[in-house]
Symmetry: D2
Subunit: 362 residues, 4 copies
Amino acid sequence: MIGYAFMGRVHSQAWRNVAAFFELPAKPEMRVICGRSKEATEAAAARMGWAEAVTDWREVVARDDVDIIDICTPGDSHAEIAIAALAAGKHVICEKPLANTVEEAIRMAEAAARGPGKSMVAFNYRRVPAVALARQLVAEGRLGEIRHVRAQYLQDWIVDPDFPLVWRLRKDKAGSGALGDIGAHIIDTAEFVTGQRVVGVTGLTETFVKERPLEGGSRTDRGTVTVDDAALFVGRMSGGALASFEATRFATGRKNALRIELNGALGSLYFDFEAMNELWVSDGGAGFTRTLVTEPEHPYAGAWWPPGHGLGYEHTFTHEIKDFLEAIAAGADPSPSFADGLRVQRVLEAVEQSNGAYKEIP
Amino acid sequence: MIGYAFMGRVHSQAWRNVAAFFELPAKPEMRVICGRSKEATEAAAARMGWAEAVTDWREVVARDDVDIIDICTPGDSHAEIAIAALAAGKHVICEKPLANTVEEAIRMAEAAARGPGKSMVAFNYRRVPAVALARQLVAEGRLGEIRHVRAQYLQDWIVDPDFPLVWRLRKDKAGSGALGDIGAHIIDTAEFVTGQRVVGVTGLTETFVKERPLEGGSRTDRGTVTVDDAALFVGRMSGGALASFEATRFATGRKNALRIELNGALGSLYFDFEAMNELWVSDGGAGFTRTLVTEPEHPYAGAWWPPGHGLGYEHTFTHEIKDFLEAIAAGADPSPSFADGLRVQRVLEAVEQSNGAYKEIP
Amino acid sequence: MIGYAFMGRVHSQAWRNVAAFFELPAKPEMRVICGRSKEATEAAAARMGWAEAVTDWREVVARDDVDIIDICTPGDSHAEIAIAALAAGKHVICEKPLANTVEEAIRMAEAAARGPGKSMVAFNYRRVPAVALARQLVAEGRLGEIRHVRAQYLQDWIVDPDFPLVWRLRKDKAGSGALGDIGAHIIDTAEFVTGQRVVGVTGLTETFVKERPLEGGSRTDRGTVTVDDAALFVGRMSGGALASFEATRFATGRKNALRIELNGALGSLYFDFEAMNELWVSDGGAGFTRTLVTEPEHPYAGAWWPPGHGLGYEHTFTHEIKDFLEAIAAGADPSPSFADGLRVQRVLEAVEQSNGAYKEIP
Amino acid sequence: MIGYAFMGRVHSQAWRNVAAFFELPAKPEMRVICGRSKEATEAAAARMGWAEAVTDWREVVARDDVDIIDICTPGDSHAEIAIAALAAGKHVICEKPLANTVEEAIRMAEAAARGPGKSMVAFNYRRVPAVALARQLVAEGRLGEIRHVRAQYLQDWIVDPDFPLVWRLRKDKAGSGALGDIGAHIIDTAEFVTGQRVVGVTGLTETFVKERPLEGGSRTDRGTVTVDDAALFVGRMSGGALASFEATRFATGRKNALRIELNGALGSLYFDFEAMNELWVSDGGAGFTRTLVTEPEHPYAGAWWPPGHGLGYEHTFTHEIKDFLEAIAAGADPSPSFADGLRVQRVLEAVEQSNGAYKEIP
């Protein structure tokens, strides 16, 4: 694993526990974790259960006893690490967004296509049982032809203008702001659940707080925010649906509200990650059914606890790792692939460039 | 009153009951109702409590014993009736959207400005106690600077492709479809609650079912739907907020979901008409408070029942009539005025013409 | 109508509007209202639409031009007025609880049985469309054999210890406290929806604030509260279900939360009056469907507005009056009858006497 | 650890992960797991991360390299194992209910009091962050004097009359049915959150389905259900509150609805485990605030993920183990103690014996 911060912690939790709940073709061994600071990486390794800690990712990629590389770094290093790892014959799972630019994403997708290693981009919300169930219902035709997609990802962690200028607010590290960080998730979720592609968008982005305190600096020492705080866009899907999207870090009081609603000719469904164990489904009558997606027959749920004993955020990563390992063992292409990640990247770019004009997605 | 269908029924209910709950400067007398069919209009008059029934609106406008004209007809006749009534010195309340075109709306607003009668456009949702409370909270600064407006009006009554081609689906009668019928409400609600204007929009409209059975015809006798089924748009508000809007009659399972969420620097609020007695408010902490807007100190609520004994749809009209009568008696300009209705009309036109391009509102 | 306070206002609203929405066998005429204060009664008459105002209920009962007596007074006068009205051949509708004692209720039920006038006790919550739909679903067998009834009526209007000693807190006027005022409603609702009778109970009552300021007196001038603040009881239903009941005026933050949940062998349902247009129904799967009870085919709903345009508290009384008028015209026994009211009264008495011991209902 | 079924799995998950998220005084080592079947226990050990698997619990208790015994067996063996382990100087954590009878529970509490090992009964729901926050709010006086406790634990897993006669439905193994299994949890939760004791109860129990298919037998091979399916009771708390309790496995459509509402003089709170990351709090105004209990300052939450990234069922056990280890290291008495477990046992016995009569808790 490369990176040991937030994403590193949650991926580690998945690697450590996946074999206790799922019958796997091979049990993962947590060989080595890599970070820039020797001391911090060693502490992380001890805490999270990695056998070794190193500081040079090239060394990890070069090792013979490593089969899988898990990339949990900021977006500016994804392309270099992933391409090197694929070239070394490793399987690669990479955090989202796939890259900071379409150009990088194209190179990554090409490297992934060359193989022989398998690759996956970590859109973990596909592995929420309720989201997986939503896709299943759509695929079975239970909603009929889809007319509307309504997707939002609402957070509020930078509403305070004195929140510092962390790397996620710098274009050179993060590529974009709310758009790439959380907008990417709702674009992927919309495409995943509907089985349709976003074919064109028009929208607006905004940076509400244009300067922020530098990290580690005094409060008056400020730098420029170089990414968007919010992105709103509407678009068309390949199957004829209209779609609306909104990603923001300024939705005061909303903490991690990834939401999606679909309206079809026969039914509808609604999901909000803040109540992640629930899926609301309408069969076209006068209401929506709140389904607790914790029944044995629901996706992933049967491996865990009895009905009504809900799962949490981290389980989405455990499911992701499980699916990745199964795909590798089967010689199948994991989903979402780097090609899926590239497609999302193209939508992100179109939104960034839109400024109120309609852009078709190539 | 001109018109006795859906809107006529609910306006009549307001006229009949307003004096029983509010201390009014003058008690309304329900003098005469007008419709095209003599028989049906007489039946409506008997049922709804009007003293007389006539079939020529010009006759009503000409009467000396009529002070107020209430226009409940489809949009294609609003301009002619309202302008005539204003010219005859009457006070006029007119259903929304104000007109079918910006040109008509301009002429109506000009007639209203000339007076001497007062005029009002019937955006009744302003008079939901929860919506009025929302505006009050914003005006008091409780939410701080508004960053996001998120407005939806979701219905599903024409999802069935065999639903007939009623007047609301014909451009010549209705002007537009979901956009003018329900989109107008969320534009007005957004402007009312925030105290800001929509200054520019980009969006998409769609007609999902392009042909429908003619009314009274056989099922195979079909005509062309000449209005939109759905309209999605994003825009900017005069105070710097980003706004997203969606109006659709194809949101299967959603019956009358007029929803609005505001996110400000200090707090947020959320409303859904399907639970019309509730307002959800966040003070910026980790949650939203579900407030039952039925306390004596809440707008309009004190006139009715004890806390927790909710109101219904029709009460919004009773409140509207009360405010209209008070404004007339005070010689004040009722709100929303025809000028407000014109502004909404300009936004509707911009959305209709957008087709994915950004349009500034004049 | 005898009485013009809270209940008088809401009954008047029902009498004034019922004919505008329902096809009735006869259109009611609001002849005369009676109260103790001449001036206040006249003001009420003018406001609510009654032709005359008088101060002696015996005079009203004696009039030939009055067919129906509507009793909206406190419980201590119900028996005398109702029995006199029935003796005079009038039809009688009487507010709940039917009486202040079982003995009074027996005499009233006997008078009702003698006729010839029809009689009804005003358990208005039976006429919430969602509650009527609940009964219908049970009657159709959709829930299977009922195992659990879970009923609560939660209010909070006397939590403040300085709230005055109003008549509802005095045993001589009100008979009992939360028990008779709101506990009566949930007993009736439970019996109505299930079609079963309460056959035995054990429970507890409590008066949390034992002294309160006298009305009109100084704050230090206090009197003893002679009724319960809360009543909790569990019991058995005639069909084998277990039932729990709780009525309280000390549920801080709950305003008018009349709730009932049924669990059956095949399904469940849940209702909360604070969201009165919703019924939650489970078919035994992994969730509950939130149904908006505003569809044309739902009880009472078709007479009003389109789907999703909710009703309010007062409409329950309009429906009650409609059903009462139809029963009178048809020569049928209105429901709930005085006999139903007596049965509720017996349960109230059993709870009052229980003090933790099981009491069978005669 | 003794036992490897449902509870063994979830306790193992806690032992395996606790050190990755919490700074502990000592890192637990998962030495040995014990079960009746050698093969199944070995498979469980391999899967869940235990170093060894054995089949005789006495051997485990006798080992020098074992400091802590975790008892995850059915209730009929709790007393014997726990008392032996305590006698051997081990620390003991024991699943709930503490025992199958009050007599056993007394002996266990006495053994615990003798020490020197520390002991804890595993009422895991105390460690839901929202429940811990609820207790904190009450302790800080935010709700004022508590007047009402309303607790329910609703499941539906045996509604089907063909569900087999598993050990939880046999008195010899389980002690009681819904009462001891889930009723125990709400009694403990009510006492924990309020800081008050249940001092008396009156209630009813029922077995709706009296015979069920034997496990492993044919469908017609049936045995008698010897425990309750449901238990309803009302009672008084030591601080003057009234309390209602309901535990049932026949609440069709409710999966794991452990709910508690408190109403105090100043405020209220409400929790439902089916939405375990939410706590609803009222400050006495017109509503309840839905708080996502995922903020860094909330109990336990800061150790995990960012706000809005919820936890699941298993985390309650991780928190429990963390608190247990901290108490052992500090030489403090863990909470809930065996004495707490005994007190719950006395309430269970009183409910079992009540049959509608009031029983004081010794």
